[in-house]
Every structure is written in C-alpha cells, then in structure tokens.
Amino acid sequence: MSLLNEVEIANPQHPHCATLLLLDTSGSMEGDKIRQLNEGLNFFKEDILQDDLARKRVDLAIVTFGEGVNIVQNFSSVEDVPDMQLTAEGLTPMGYALSTAMDLIEQRKNEYKIKGVDYYRPWIFMITDGEPTDMKPGDAKWNSVVGRIHEGESSKKFLFFTVGVEPANMQTLKELSPQNRPPLKLKKDRFREMFSWLSKSTKRTSASKVGDIVPLDNPAGPEGWGEIETA
C-alpha cells in the first residue's frame, strides 16, 4: 500500500516512566541489609530488562543517603545502569535526599517536555531503616520538605512510596508520607519480594495507555512483603 510507504511518523518514540529509587545507605544498613538491598536492586534491573516494553520505557535514577547524598545514577535507560554494590556508612540526611529526588524528577519532566516525549507520572520509591538526622518534625526544613512531598502527591507531580526497614521510625515516616499512601514496613528479609513487586508495578505502568488506572498488587496483603502499621 503506497500510503504506508509515503507517510512518516511524527513522534517515533515510546512514552517514558521515570522511576527514582531513594535508598538509605547509612551505617545502620551495614551487613545483611545492604547485601539484600544490592541483590534486590540488581534483580530489579534485570527483571525490567527482561520485559521488552519496560526495557524501552523505564528510566531509572538511584540516589543514596548516608555519607552525604549521592546521585549514584541519574536518569537513564535501565540498559545503561551498571550493577550496584552500595556500601553502608554515615548518618541519614533524608531531608536533603528527598529534596534532591524531587528536583531530579522535575528536571527529568522538563527534559521530556523539551524533547516532546510522552511520559507517565514519575515514581519516587524510598527505602530507609531509620529517621532523618538532618531535620526533625516541625523544624523549618521538615516543614519545607514534607510540605513539598504532600503538595507534589496531591497535585499529581509524582507518586511517592516509602518503605521502612526495621528499626525505622514508622511514626516519623507516616508524618512524612502522603496521607493517601502511608509507609509500608518491610517484613523481615523480604527485600527480594519488595523489588519483585516494584518491577512488576513498573512494568504494568509502562505498558498502560491513556485512560488506564494501573492496578498494583497489594504489597500489604497476606502474601505481601510489607505491612501497614495501624498503631
């Protein structure tokens, strides 16, 4: 059919799904926790690469907070993300890390807009075993950071998920998290299951099209990897 030969495609690119992993690498994560975190991260990357659509659509960034806040990997295709071997040391500058994460998300969206790339609502997925050491509930930095998280979620700038690993201060994480999405507490040694849920959720999102509400498996279900504290 000659029409097919003659037309060109205006926008020959896939929509993108920006996913930012915000990871606590403070000293208390040393040992088994950082080992499981590294294994989970690398599993997540490999699982995304196995999915033809997700591989083309998921853009991944990794930011750690421990000995400072480090942009270990700025947004790039999952194919360009090397294997991770994070180490644990330092305190928990979570406030600065959260600000950095939200800045990176906005920058990425601006890049998408400039290039005319369609994109899904970005994800910020934070994993921590503690509480912030650079801000306290009620101080100026806390009010600024937490206000920005809540406003960002309510105005649909991003989706914000928090996972607390024992002995995370779940009450602090609850105050920090959006009301519609309370923090989950990771069940013992369930890092792999958590990353499996994350890759499955990311794959579903990157396959969704206009009009879709993406159904996610309940992470706090009976077989889930997390639980929502009610106390």
Binding site: L3, V7, P12, Q13, G211
Partner: protein, 257 residues
C-alpha cells in the same frame, strides 16, 4: 468512478496490546453525509481501565450522530444554529450513557470514554472535544490543528465524558472556513500524526500530506475504509503505539487532479 464531495470514510482497529490481552476494540466511530451538504463525524475512545468502555464508546458515537441528524432535519425558521450542533452531540452522548446506566444498573464511570464531535457544511467546520485525540484540517492549503489532545500531563491519564465536570472539560473549537479536508482521530494515532514540542502539539506534514492525498483519490468508500484499517493495523503505525486506533477522513470539496 469518482465520488462526489463531500464524502467521509474511516476505520477503527484494535491495538496490539488489546489483542495480546484478549480484549475488544474500545474505539468507535460513526459518520454520515446528510442532504449532500452536511457531514457528521463522531469518534470515541473508551478508557482501558473500566469494564464497559467499548459499550460507552459505541453508545456515545451513535447518540451523537443521531442527535445531529435530528437537529439537521429541523428546517423551521427557528431551527438550530449549526455551530452549536457539536456541543449538542456531546450532550446527547452524555445523556445516552446516563440513561443506559440508570436502566441497566451500571456505574456511569464504567462506560468512560473520550469523544470528538464534528459537523461540517460546505467548507466550514465546527468541532467539540473531550479527552484526547485530535482534529486536523487542511485549510487553504495549510494544515491546522482545529482541536488537540486534552489529556493531563501524563501518558495514561485523560478526562472522559462520564466525569463529574464533563461540561467544563469540553473544548469547543471556533468555526473554521476554507477547509478542503479533515481528519478526526483517537490518541492511538497521535504519535504518528502530531508533532509534540514544549509549546504543544502540531500536525505533522509528512503524515497528513500523503493521507489527505490518498483521501482525495479514493474512488470507493468501502475499499477506502478497508485500506485505512490495514494502514492503521500496520507495524509501521503500531510500533510506537500499542493502543486501539481510529482515523476518519472527510473530503469537503474539490479533488486533486
């Protein structure tokens, strides 16, 4: 044998993702030339997240076109202002969905769909739209985006006609004269057909020039619709869009020699 203008033809095809998932096509289109003078087009895209969006899309286009035909039959001196007809088509679609929901015990939102309604007469076009998809016309030789995607910022979020503030969410385009041909399409065709920049959307010349040339040379409406369906189902068009696709083409005046 040539076809007298105006004429309209189109196709809705299921996307690769729905084929893979065993779902039906959730796009729908309906069009008609009335009294050799008026053209009526309705195009809808049911939302993938709800169970009866294919029904919602079909009911919407049927109600919209039926309403337009009824209005155009009113030849009294107090007859309708034709510039208002696309909006009235929208209202008729919404009412049809509400009545169906009430009668069958469905949730209105379970039939969520976008909708584009177009009426043309001579070389004048009137358009209304809720949700995404677009209307592009060739006007005095230049491509014009009469109405464009009204989605949110994100690739998988859109406002359907079943939402609470549907009336405030409708875009009603200004009437446009001088049109030679028009294309009405759902979002499955957006990536091939529309350029996207930081400033917004614009029609892509290298898509529409061949498409409008093809439309002007069609000699058999049924065959044209079939070929359009094959075109929309092709790997070239589907590669970056796994969604259902609808494209309706109308030639309002003249024919290319």
């Amino acid at each position: 044998m040539t076809i007298a203008t105006p004429y309209i033809f189109g196709a809705s095809v299921i996307g690769p993702l729905h084929i893979q998932d065993g779902l039906s096509c959730q796009d729908a289109c309906l069009y008609e030339v009335v009294s050799d003078d008026f053209g009526i087009i309705a195009v809808a895209d049911g939302l993938g997240s709800v169970p009866m969006s294919d029904l919602g899309a079909r009911l919407s286009v049927e109600a919209a076109v039926s309403a337009a035909k009824s209005l155009l039959c009113d030849t009294s001196k107090d007859g309708p202002d034709i510039s208002e007809i696309p909006m009235k088509m929208m209202r008729a679609a919404r009412e049809s969905l509400e009545e169906t929901a009430l009668r069958e015990g469905f949730r209105l939102g379970d039939m969520a769909t976008t909708l584009i309604t177009v009426l043309f007469r001579g070389d004048s076009i009137y358009t209304a739209q809720i949700g995404d998809g677009a209307v592009v016309a060739r006007v005095d030789g230049s491509l014009v985006l009469l109405s464009g995607p009204l989605n949110s910022e994100y690739a998988n979020e859109v406002t359907p006609i079943t939402c609470n503030d549907w009336q405030a969410s409708i875009f009603s385009a200004e009437a446009r004269s001088g049109a030679e041909c028009v294309a009405v399409f759902t979002d499955g065709c957006q990536r091939p057909a529309l350029l996207k920049t930081a400033e917004g959307y614009g029609p892509f010349e290298k898509f529409f020039h061949p498409v409008f040339s093809y439309a002007a040379e069609v000699e058999d409406i049924a065959k044209g619709g079939q070929e359009l369906g094959e075109f929309l189902s092709s790997e070239k068009i589907s590669e970056y869009s796994e969604d259902d696709k609808t494209l309706v083409l109308a030639v309002l005046q003249g024919r290319q020699q």
